[in-house]
Symmetry: none
Subunit: 155 residues, 2 copies
């Protein structure tokens, strides 16, 4: 998202600093325990436990969540209380005017009638409908209407 190079490598820098601090801690521990030589095994154990934990933590942080797509069938009851499916509408990326044309198409109007209704020329409606079909990936107005109704874009 942010193009800031510092922010981009924030995590890497953090890891580096953490490791540096860790090395200091280890050195200190080492010197301290050198005196009490009996605690040598304990030192090794502590190192082992610490790095095991570190490894676990790192992998937990770095593993990307595995996404599982679950298809869920949804029956749409469109007659009582129709609400337009904004999600599907956005997915198609239709413009305001294109949607208007689509709605009038669904009412069974011809391009000529639509152009008169919207006070624009017939050619404009043709352009709109062409872009409409392209976006909806259909070939005919009847298909567009059928699809729009199935996706609950129009009542």
């Amino acid at each position: 998202m942010t193009s800031n190079p510092l922010a981009k490598h924030k995590l890497t820098i953090l890891y580096g600093v953490s490791l540096a601090l860790l090395l200091f801690l280890l050195k200190w521990l080492e010197l301290k325990l050198m005196i009490v030589n009996h605690a040598y095994e304990a030192y090794i154990g502590a190192v082992a436990i610490f790095f095991t934990t570190l490894g676990i933590w790192i992998s937990l942080k770095l593993t990307k969540p595995k996404t599982v797509f679950v298809e869920k069938a949804v029956y749409i009851n469109q007659s009582p209380g129709f609400t337009i499916n904004q999600t599907e509408l956005d997915k198609l990326g239709l413009s305001k005017r294109e949607l208007e044309v689509l709605q009038l198409m669904a009412e069974g109007l011809s391009n000529q009638e639509i152009s008169e209704r919207l006070f624009v020329s017939l050619n404009t409606i043709k352009t709109h409908s062409a872009k409409l079909f392209e976006k909806m990936e259909v070939k005919r107005r009847t298909q567009a209407v059928e699809m729009a109704k199935r996706l609950c874009i129009i009542p």
Copy 2:
């Protein structure tokens, strides 16, 4: 799944045995390196690297995959409990074939496609559709489909 208590803790036991073997290895390495005291830091480093790797491996093995459930709606056009309005259908006086053509029209098929679907010629479909429009008192196929849906003649 299996109710066998041994199998149930097979993984735990395996880890335990592995750790025991590991401790032996460490002890051996320790003794070996004690002679060459200069390699002490290298030993610590090896332990650190090994246990980091071990930690990563363990967490990768043990963590359940993080699943992100994405609901993907599959829209089913046939609303459950659609009943054709026989009264309105009779009122129109459509023949069996004309109704078939109307249904395929509603699916967005062209006359050509309908003719191929019904194994008849394009001209036949044109004749049917013309009679259809006359009986339904509409001018275009889009109007016919809109009317048919509104009258619950087709889903």
